[in-house]
Symmetry: C2
Amino acid sequence: MIESIRVIGSGRVGSAVAARLEERGVDLAADEPELLLLCVPDRAIAEVAAGIDQGPWIAHVSGATPLAALAPHTRRFSVHPLQTFTRTRGPEQIDGAYAACTAESHEARALAFEVARTLGLAPFELADGKRSLYHAGAALASNYLVTIYRAAAQLFEAAGAPPEGLVPLMRRTIDNGFELTGPIARGDWDTVENHLEAIREGRPELEPVYRVLAEATLP
Amino acid sequence: MIESIRVIGSGRVGSAVAARLEERGVDLAADEPELLLLCVPDRAIAEVAAGIDQGPWIAHVSGATPLAALAPHTRRFSVHPLQTFTRTRGPEQIDGAYAACTAESHEARALAFEVARTLGLAPFELADGKRSLYHAGAALASNYLVTIYRAAAQLFEAAGAPPEGLVPLMRRTIDNGFELTGPIARGDWDTVENHLEAIREGRPELEPVYRVLAEATLP
């Protein structure tokens, strides 16, 4: 059982992680912590890691950064909380999320899983070389969900409909296990063509988004 | 207060609507109902409407279909529940959703709002000519949410990561009011380029989706 962790960085993720570890009784202020957990911006990881004396375990919480960024340390791993964080929430925003754990030894993997579980995350193993593909998937699901909401909200505004009406629709789409309904599911191409025509007329800048997604939705 | 409605059609929407109206004490079996509510496929609306004697109110629940499809009836309107429906849920799936109400007179509009509220929907007015733009927005938000989940799940599978990990991430993105996080929000183009490279190598068919959404996400 890991008893002392020094969290470096107090951004969105670092604040939530430190608060959760404190809740779990982990010593965050030990002089010689067992683990240094870097919650710094991706670009700062290599520099911060290089400035730390070798000895304790070191880990980062980045989804996109390879373990090599932690060089010259070899007692290293990463735990990426698969979640979007906001400053307006506390450690409870960690609950229910998964964690991608990357490690190079059995010992490091066991420790990564332990840290993830201590945080309240459901760990899974991710190969270091698959990190970009994984992170691209996470960005697609989270960041581009924002993008399609914004695009849909613009169409609603142009139609005089309230964008907040999209929220229960999007939540239920997830609740229903991403079951596809609507014109493409019905093979109703007339309606799809009508959408494209209306978009070209009302919000032409959104046509490429609609068109590429329609094509990607085809069975 | 409307007391008798005949629901025509028993698909996903018709079943939920009829069950809800029954819960609300509306007479569904009257010989001369005040309103005929067409819950039939979009393409069948005009034919079904044309086959009904003029007299009572008539309405449809389609998002994409103009009121003209209800000709020759003039006592007409539409109420579109802005929700995705599944056969595995009952009338409770209506709760919390909005409804687009389209009408051509004050009387028809008042009745459309009344029917929406009786169903448990939050009504708003939608102009008949803006219906395609509105429906395109709804399809973008709901159907293409399925598309980006599927694309992200494919990237996860290629990376050996569990697609179910995407669900808490997507739910929280909505809970957080669609706050944009991730590489584009940070202006981290190196990570975006790494994503594209990984996609080209691992799932090249998804590159257009990722690319068009990245471009649409730019401020």
